[in-house]
């Protein structure tokens, strides 16, 4: 995640918060509230429920304040609380979101298909099995038109929204939010390996959508 490990100023904020200082609380809400809300939305997708989740998470954080020992970054601690509450809500809504590590691993394991269609590579009887049939088409140099980049962003957001839940959540946290692998695993309670399988599937599909859009080829 972008935030550094617990810093002196963070420790000071926490100390103030334990004394009931409202300004310290507001500083934390303004610092971490937005990302907590985005994470909640990744799990539950309805704005109303996401609002409830974030509110509950702050209450949970206040109640658990004395148990926070500063071993993890405050940000990671808060986001774990959000993720756990969001999962509980998702269960209540009976949504098919992967709530547990087990289900995420199931999703990672069931998609054993190759990342790319196999006909992009030479078959086992060809002179060079596994080699490109033809190289990927080059993409145009980075478009500098604002319209084109807005279109690209919409296309990516759209592609991500249609991914299976596990892939959608992992690529959102890793590549949209920019978290590192360890943070994603810690918040989702999933192994690095499974997390990476989901991420790889997701990235491959986003690349295919971009390829389709930028070169007019089918993925």
């Amino acid at each position: 995640m972008h935030a550094p490990e617990p810093s002196n100023s963070e420790a000071a904020l926490l100390a103030a918060l334990r004394r009931g200082d409202e300004n310290a609380f507001i500083a934390l809400v303004d610092g971490y509230g937005a990302v907590m809300h985005r994470v909640a939305l990744t799990f539950v997708r309805s704005n109303e429920v996401a609002d409830e989740v974030v509110q509950e998470a702050w209450l949970g954080a206040l109640r658990g304040l004395d148990r926070f020992e500063g071993r993890s970054a405050l940000r990671t601690w808060l986001l774990r609380i959000v993720a756990n509450i969001a999962r509980t809500h998702a269960v209540r809504e009976a949504r098919a979101v992967p709530f547990s590590a087990l289900e995420l691993e199931h999703e990672a394991g069931t998609e054993r298909a190759p990342a790319l269609p196999i006909d992009r590579f030479q078959g086992p009887d060809a002179p060079h099995p596994g080699r490109w049939v033809s190289f990927p088409t080059p993409w145009p140099a980075e478009p500098d038109s604002a319209v084109v980049s807005a279109e690209t962003r919409d296309l990516i957001a759209d592609t991500i929204a249609r991914l299976p839940d596990g892939q959608r959540i992992v690529i959102t946290l890793r590549d949209v939010e920019g978290w590192n692998s360890a943070d994603v695993c810690s918040v989702l309670d999933v192994s690095e390996t499974y997390q990476r399988v989901l991420l790889h599937r997701a990235r491959t599909k986003v690349r295919a959508a971009l390829e389709d859009y930028l070169t007019g080829e089918s993925p």
Binding site: F25, A34, P114, F121, G130, W132, R203
Partner: protein, 81 residues
């Protein structure tokens, strides 16, 4: 050369490569393959570009004001208890 990655294998391990999660032998195989295969070079560049572009997807940078207010009210109630 059967010990080397095929192009298809390259496309399967690129995320592990980016995360530096490949065993050292495979990491070297990956980089060796890139020295002689322009197609995979292009593919890896496109995956990098994909990640970069994904990072530009819009994010809401603030809480809805009404929610922020409810959270602060909740804090005041909590403090009273």
């Amino acid at each position: 050369m059967s010990n080397e990655f095929s192009c298809q294998q390259m496309t399967e391990v690129v995320t592990d490569y980016f995360d530096e999660a490949l065993p050292p032998d495979d990491h070297q195989r990956f980089e060796r393959h890139l020295t002689y295969c322009a197609g995979c070079g292009r593919y890896v560049d496109q995956m990098r570009e994909t990640i970069k572009q994904t990072g530009t997807v819009a994010r809401d940078e603030s809480l809805p004001p009404a929610l922020r207010e409810r959270i602060v009210d909740q804090f005041r109630n909590w403090r009273r208890t």
